[in-house]
């Protein structure tokens, strides 16, 4: 059932395999006859194993560490953007190119219907096999990816289509070519333009929310996050390297960074945590797709009622209020710096 089980998933995966063996056995008449003569009730065995597995899963998943959440967010069996697009949307028509010099496969997007209504959908795209992972650059967008995203956003605005955006990236590409093509500037422009885009924007963090590469297309009216997704200012490995010069201490850094969906909700940085099936989104693609669909529908219905002015004001205020600080100087006394002798 799990193609790429994580270490802490292995006991579950072993039971899955056993259950599958029993299930296969029921299909073979010879085996059935065998079991009957020995007085073994295969169906009952399967039911017992499933109960056992579900209990184990419940136990393991109610005790995940922040590092386990990082592993879950990066899970190779986890549904990716195109999986959600196929499951939730109809008539998806992919659009390509940044109209400058390239088409970045790390970001996909286009027209589609959501509950019958025309929308623009886009997101980072990861992949499972090596060849496609390289093609998708592991979900790390280049400047052309952000330019394509912005182009699709402007299309959405022009035709008054709501935008639905999926976030799943380790980080923006930061190699020589990306620098030459203005990766920082492109992200900055996306941040600025999204803040004043005159159409509803719903963002769903489905896996990795990797710093500026994620936020660059994540300035939304509603930001939703899957239970086992992460959203972080820096990858835990990078944080550990900076703090302790030791990337292997990433699990400690993951705990310190408070990068889970639960924390993001506590800090008021996201609007809703979308709960996953026990065991994670990858165990039941149709179920998580349904949960995502209903959450997006609910938020979109609310946001669509706002006028364009209200929408823009509300979005500005939403991000304006993010961040924590203290002001010890309510009297607004001014300090004068003079440069006279």
């Amino acid at each position: 059932m799990l193609n790429n089980p994580l270490d802490f998933e292995k006991p579950i995966s072993e039971l899955d395999d056993l259950i599958n063996e029993f299930k296969n056995a029921t299909k073979e008449p010879q085996m059935r006859a065998d079991a009957e003569t020995k007085g073994i009730d295969i169906e009952q065995q399967i039911a017992e194993l499933e109960t056992k597995r579900d209990a184990l899963m419940q136990q393991i998943f109610s005790n995940l560490t922040p590092w386990n959440e990082v592993q879950m967010a990066r899970h190779k069996d986890r549904p990716y953007t195109l999986d959600y697009i196929r499951a939730i949307f109809e008539d998806f028509m992919e659009l390509h190119g940044d109209r400058t010099n390239a088409d970045d496969p790390a970001i996909v997007g286009g027209f589609a219907r959501f509950n019958g209504e025309p929308v623009v959908v886009l997101g980072h795209q990861k992949a499972r096999d090596l060849k496609e992972r390289q093609l998708r650059n592991f979900g790390s967008a280049r400047p052309s990816g952000f330019r394509k995203a912005l182009r699709l956003m402007k299309l959405a605005e022009k035709f008054s289509r709501p935008l639905i955006i999926f976030i799943d990236t380790p980080a923006a590409e930061a190699n020589l070519r990306a620098e030459e093509e203005g990766i920082s500037s492109t992200i900055a422009i996306c941040l600025r333009e999204m803040s004043v885009l005159r159409t509803p924007i719903i963002v769903i963090v489905i896996g990795e929310g990797g710093s500026g590469g994620a936020l660059g297309i994540a300035v939304g009216d509603a930001v939703l996050m899957l239970e086992h997704a992460i959203y972080s200012v820096i990858p835990p490995e990078g944080c550990a390297a900076i703090l302790w010069s030791d990337r292997s201490r990433a699990p400690e850094a993951a705990a310190a960074l408070k990068l889970t969906a639960k924390h993001a909700a506590e800090f008021g940085l996201i609007d809703e945590v979308i709960y996953e099936p026990v065991g994670g989104a990858h165990r039941d693609h149709p179920q998580i797709a349904e949960s995502v669909k209903s959450a997006v529908t609910r938020h979109l219905d609310g946001i669509k009622r706002l006028s364009e002015e209200e929408l823009i004001d509300r979005r500005y205020q939403k991000f304006r209020e993010m961040g924590r600080w203290e002001d010890t100087d309510f009297t607004s006394a001014v300090v004068h710096v003079t440069n006279s002798e």
Binding site: A178, A188, I234, A256, L269, D329
Partner: protein, 283 residues
């Protein structure tokens, strides 16, 4: 212009990188030249031999840039807290508060540059490497919003390692918060000029630092998204000598001009004058 005494002010927060303790000699981190600290300081903290632009404090920058006595600081009470209870962060904040005499990594206020009234923000690199957390983001947005309400231009001097790691996702969101405020300046046609100084990287270069109407950079500054070692370079790619410097970014089209520290003030004066002139056609 009696600006000769400005360098004495630096002892207030002692963050000058140019000076060795007791301040007699100074060694250039680039060319290794040993000079009289006083000579370096008189030279606007530029190495007399190789023109290396040393880091300077916000106070020094104000003295270099603003008309004498014109600068009034605002939002002086805003400082960082430790919302994540991040290990050692409180201690680091306290150390830097003592070291720099500042509450956080940016100084904002109202001043004048060659007679032009302007809202100014100056990064204090000595404080947590100029990184942007909640306090910095809030101060920048208040600066933008005040400038907006008074229809006054903004000049920002950047120097930052990026978003402040110890405030986690809260600090990442400062990129969106500050960038959104620049959109308001655009809509209101308020001039916004960025002066990139060494070093300007990460989430700061990927947000408000890259959004100026005009972006100028001091020579030799480190400017880029991820550091030389952090970015994953493709196999066999040889990085240019000046990768992620002002000159590199200028070549790539990210910077309008590279301006020597001695010319920054007059350049800003000219730009502000140019941008604030009434249009030649009726609207």
């Amino acid at each position: 212009m009696a600006r000769g005494g400005w360098f004495r002010k630096q002892s207030r927060n002692g963050a000058s990188v140019a000076s060795v303790p007791d301040g007699l000699w100074s060694k250039c981190p680039r060319c290794g030249e040993i000079s009289f600290a006083r000579d370096v300081e008189r030279n606007l903290n530029i190495c007399p031999k190789c023109e290396y632009h040393h880091l300077i404090t916000a106070d020094q920058r104000i003295m270099l840039t603003c008309d004498e006595g014109s600068f009034t600081e605002m939002d002086t009470g805003i400082s960082s807290i430790n919302p994540l209870a991040f290990p050692d962060y409180d201690d680091k904040l306290n150390v830097d508060r003592t070291k720099t005499g500042r509450k956080d990594a940016i100084v904002t206020g109202l001043g004048a540059i060659d007679g032009n009234r302007v809202y100014i923000g100056i990064a204090e690199f000595g404080f947590r490497a100029g990184s942007m957390g909640g306090a910095v983001g809030e101060k920048i947005v208040r600066l933008f919003e005040t400038a907006l309400s008074e229809k006054t231009p903004v000049v920002l001097f950047t120097a930052s390692g990026g978003a402040r790691m110890q405030e986690g996702l809260l600090s990442l969101m400062q990129m969106a918060k500050t960038s959104a405020a620049t959109a308001k300046l655009d809509q209101a046609r308020i001039p916004y000029i960025v002066v990139i100084t060494h070093p300007t990287t990460g989430g700061v270069f990927a947000s408000y630092a890259a959004l100026g109407d005009i972006i100028i950079a001091e020579p030799g500054a480190t400017v880029g998204l991820a550091g030389r070692r952090v970015g994953n370079q493709d196999m066999g790619v040889k990085l240019p000598e000046d990768f992620q410097t002002s000159e590199f970014q200028y070549r790539c089209g990210m910077v309008d001009q590279i301006v020597h520290r001695k010319e920054v003030r007059s350049t800003l004066g000219k730009l502000l004058m140019f941008l604030s002139e009434a249009p030649v056609y009726a609207k």
